[in-house]
């Protein structure tokens, strides 16, 4: 779910095109837009407080094999939530799980990890290496 929540619709669609078609499904709820209240902690570790909300889209489907899939995804993109819910349902089917994991989830997870690593590398390049005057003299 975490991987699908961070993926772009076009990315998922392209990867899903290469696997066996997902079973048909009926929508039990949504896709619908809403909010989630985010919270912080006073001082970073103390009592909770309400920080502000963010937009979220959710969807729940039941597929033809009887599996129920959920999606809660940041943002307001309904087709993305619907596709993520359909994938969540299909991923619960042992017959489909490994294939989808390999063809869809793993490539997305790798791309997301690479994007995070790129940020970490840029941050590392801006790390200050202190040198003191005494070091310069020696």
């Amino acid at each position: 779910m975490a991987v699908l929540a961070r993926a772009k619709l076009a990315q998922i669609t392209a990867l899903v095109a290469d696997v066996a078609p997902l079973p048909s499904h009926v929508v039990l709820r949504g896709p619908e837009n809403g909010l989630v209240m985010l919270r912080g902690r006073a001082g970073g570790a103390g009592g909770r407080f309400n920080l502000g909300e963010m937009t979220v889209t959710r969807c729940t489907v039941r597929n033809a094999d009887g599996y129920v899939g959920h999606a809660y995804i940041q943002g307001r993109e309904k087709p993305l939530a619907a596709l993520a819910a359909a994938l969540d349902a299909a991923l619960q089917d042992p017959a489909r799980h490994d294939g989808l994991q390999t063809a869809v989830i793993t490539p997305l997870a790798n791309a997301q990890a690479a994007a995070r690593a790129a940020i970490a590398r840029r941050a590392a390049a801006t790390k200050v290496d202190f040198f003191t005057l005494s070091t310069m003299r020696s």
Partner: protein
């Protein structure tokens, strides 16, 4: 104050809106600005609108900025109005800022803190010279990269806390108040104050924070740490029954370290002011932390005579949407009020024979 219903003006209003729309689009010979351009190239404006609009959604903030011709308070107002149309699905777990994906992290109290000083994409060391190459549309070279260490970057407050040198923050488990559901009541607890400040006006927080440094409620803060980065958001929907990760938000956190003499029951230790805000917004987070600390004066047994220490004053005036509404309402017809004042003045003048 009485208002009188005035009819008429519909055609004038429609025409005014049409002119506004035309003016907003500007010269048709110049290509229209796209929302992606705003989110990508005016990120700090987007961040401010999200923070003061109190909704994290970069696309919506970009639309609001475009619609308001870049008037950021008007844009925040649009976002606040939009959020009232959406149901609330869940309340997230508190963000874990200790484990954010760090983009920037500096401390003014420890030079060699674990994880180091990470400058990130900052304006701090620019020379504030207008860059005419930017006007010419030059493409910048890619940013440098270096091997990222695996080591954690603990929060400075947690480092100080391990030695007991700073007041301990503990969660008493109390459900925090929510200004979007219950009206502001006094005395306002710190959770409600922090919520109000997080959506408060950046200019107000900056000015009031500045006033505490200038001697109005003297406190002597250090920036214990300022960090900017991405935090993941987790919710536990009742129908799923376990926590799920639904995305990332960029946050700026500022932890100030202030002196505190101690008391009969508390040994001398540092106290803190805390700021946390959507997006990359250091000025806002620091202003918030300064006034958060100032508003704790009474709780910490300090004199509380300065404006920034007056909780009621601060919370009643920090919200720029409310302030805009009340200030700008003066433009509404007050014809009857004014007529009555006019008559009073004429009568008084007549009575004194002037």
């Amino acid at each position: 104050m009485a208002y009188v219903a005035v009819k008429g003006g519909e055609r004038a209003i429609d025409n005014a809106h049409a002119w506004l729309a035309e003016e907003r689009r500007g010269d048709l010979g110049i290509s229209a600005i796209g929302l992606a351009q705003i989110t990508e190239q005016l990120g700090r404006s987007v961040d401010r609108v999200m923070a003061e609009g109190s909704v994290y959604d970069t696309d919506l903030a970009a639309l609001a900025i475009k619609q308001s011709q870049g008037d950021l308070i008007e844009a925040a107002f649009l976002l606040r109005a939009y959020r009232t149309t959406l149901p609330r699905f869940a309340i997230a777990e508190p963000v874990d800022t200790a484990n954010m994906l760090i983009r920037r992290r500096i401390s003014a109290v420890y030079k060699d803190l674990p994880g180091g000083q990470i400058l990130g994409p900052t304006y701090d060391y620019t020379h504030r010279l207008l860059d005419f190459a930017l006007a010419a549309g030059t493409v910048p070279p890619p940013a440098a990269e270096a091997i990222a260490p695996e080591a954690a970057m603990p929060r400075v407050a947690d480092i100080l806390g391990q030695e007991g040198l700073i007041e301990a923050h503990t969660d008493d488990g109390r459900e925090p108040g929510d200004l979007t559901r219950e009206p502001l009541r006094f005395p306002a607890t710190r959770d409600v104050r922090l919520q109000a400040l997080a959506r408060g006006d950046e200019g107000f927080l900056l000015a009031m924070g500045y006033s505490t440094q200038r001697g109005y409620g003297g406190s002597h803060p250090f920036v214990g740490e300022l960090r900017v980065g991405d935090c993941n958001i987790e919710i536990t929907p009742p129908e799923i029954g376990f926590a799920i990760d639904i995305g990332d938000v960029m946050l700026t956190e500022c932890a100030l370290v202030n002196q505190f003499a101690g008391s009969k029951t508390v040994p001398p230790q540092f106290t803190s002011g805390y700021g946390l805000t959507f997006g990359h917004a250091e000025r806002k987070a620091m202003g918030m932390a300064l006034v958060d600390r100032a508003m704790r004066a009474e709780e910490l047994g300090e004199d509380a005579n300065a404006p920034a220490q007056n909780i009621e004053f601060m919370l009643y005036h920090s919200d720029n949407i409310e302030a805009t509404g009340f200030v700008e309402h003066l433009k509404l017809p007050h014809y009857v009020d004014f007529q009555s004042e006019l008559e009073t003045i004429r009568r008084m003048r007549a009575e004194t024979g002037q």
